[in-house]
């Protein structure tokens, strides 16, 4: 149980995927202009990430390893993620129009979110068990959502600030992300 806790906190705060491992920066920079979209993207990503990591784990250990086809992992995982995103979109459209309307436009973007493939590959590389993979994925996704929401709120404030012309837009966003990352470095050492 302690071990799972360490994995969860590690992926959530200590090795935060966005601020310490540089995964998922495209949505982090692209769609955090407001708090609401950041939250919706975070939720959609959490859902896909947890499912993709578990399914990829099952396929890898159930099919690729016995057949000695592990070199196909990248191709197969990206197909799993793309298929999963498509499935969720169809399912949400049919069952929950409200949720579909809320998350709809952010879903297709998840396929090209490198955090999803990154978490899946990292879980395989570190030889995690199924339960550990699930914990790792939930921690990573929660960390992603947390940082997206914090950064979305921060950027809403940035729009009111007077910023030097050269730094306006992306540069100031990157510098703010740097300061956030500095704060997150304070978590280093927890659980080790």
């Amino acid at each position: 149980m302690t071990e799972l806790g360490v994995i969860l906190i590690g992926a959530l705060l200590v090795n935060n995927f966005v601020l310490a491992q540089f995964l998922g920066l495209c949505p982090f920079m692209g769609i955090t202009k407001s708090y609401d979209t950041a939250f919706a993207t975070g939720l959609a990503t959490t859902f896909v990430l947890a499912l993709a990591a578990v399914i990829s784990h099952l396929i890898y250990h159930g099919i690729l390893v016995p057949l000695e086809l592990t070199y196909l992992n990248i191709i197969l995982f990206i197909v799993v993620i793309a298929g999963l995103v498509q499935l969720i979109q169809v399912y949400l459209h049919a069952t929950s129009p409200v949720l579909h309307q809320l998350l709809g436009i952010y879903l297709p973007l998840i396929t090209s979110n490198c955090a999803v493939l990154g978490v899946t590959l990292l879980a395989i590389n570190q030889d995690l068990t199924l339960l550990q993979t699930l914990t790792f994925a939930i921690g990573a996704a929660a960390g992603f959502t947390l940082v997206m929401v914090l950064f979305g709120a921060l950027r809403e404030q940035l729009q009111q600030a007077s910023i030097p012309k050269a730094f306006d837009g992306t540069p100031i966003a990157l510098v703010s992300a740097g300061l956030m990352s500095l704060a997150f470095m304070g978590f280093q050492g927890i659980g080790s």
Partner: protein, 221 residues
């Protein structure tokens, strides 16, 4: 024509600072010049391979299923890049492994496939790929050099992991005690990338001021 395709990808539409694509690998592996070159070569290979084959296959790939086809082609070339690096530069591979594997999800490559290679003949697609790859390399090298000098005090350290023994003596020591070790850590990557992008914006802003009066006078006419 081909010349235009090359310089457009490398400078005007630079994937890093003009389009903000491929930010994850840009920030993650730019902690040394050697890592930056390693990833630039791998991404360039995948970009060139994908653009060429997508351009060749553009009349065969059905329009409705084009994105899955593109992703599969890119994934195939990524797998090849992973295998080559694993076989010939294993120590380098272990340092940048994850970011070579996730070249698949680099929007820069899918973007070029969708916006350019799927509509243009091979000769133009090749130049477009080369231009984009060079543009990405420039950004990687710029950030990689600054971060290595500030964070480690050296340039071109560990190049032998990538090129072999000939590069063993290439390392230049600029500072014996690094002035800003933070540059090697994630916050340093974000801060220096922000400053780099701001510098590019400040330098290119001059062109805007020259162009702006022209467009205004055009509007009056």
């Amino acid at each position: 024509m081909s010349n235009n395709d090359f310089s457009r990808g490398a400078i005007e539409n630079n994937p890093a600072w003009a389009q903000l694509l491929g930010l994850c690998p840009l920030l993650a592996v730019s902690n040394s010049v050697a890592n930056a070159v390693g990833l630039a070569l791998a991404s360039g290979f995948v970009l060139l391979g994908a653009n060429t084959s997508i351009s060749l296959l553009r009349k065969i790939i059905p329009d409705v299923a084009r994105l899955p086809c593109f992703v599969l082609i890119i994934a195939t070339f990524t797998t090849v890049a992973v295998m080559v690096l694993e076989a010939y530069a294993f120590d380098m591979f272990t340092r940048i492994a994850l970011f070579v594997q996730i070249i698949v999800t680099n929007c820069m490559i899918l973007g070029r496939a969708e916006a350019f290679a799927s509509r243009q003949p091979v000769s133009r697609a090749v130049f477009d790929a080369l231009g984009t790859a060079v543009g990405f390399t420039i950004a990687l090298l710029a950030l990689g050099t600054v971060r290595e000098i500030l964070g480690n005090g050296t340039v071109l350290a560990d190049m032998d992991l990538l090129i072999g023994d000939t590069a063993a003596n290439w390392q230049l020591t600029i500072f014996t005690s690094p002035p800003l070790p933070l540059a090697l850590y994630p916050p340093g990557a974000f801060l220096l990338a922000g400053i780099l992008f701001a510098a590019v914006k400040a330098l290119t802003a001059k062109d805007d001021t020259i162009e702006r009066p022209a467009t205004q006078s055009e509007a009056k006419q």
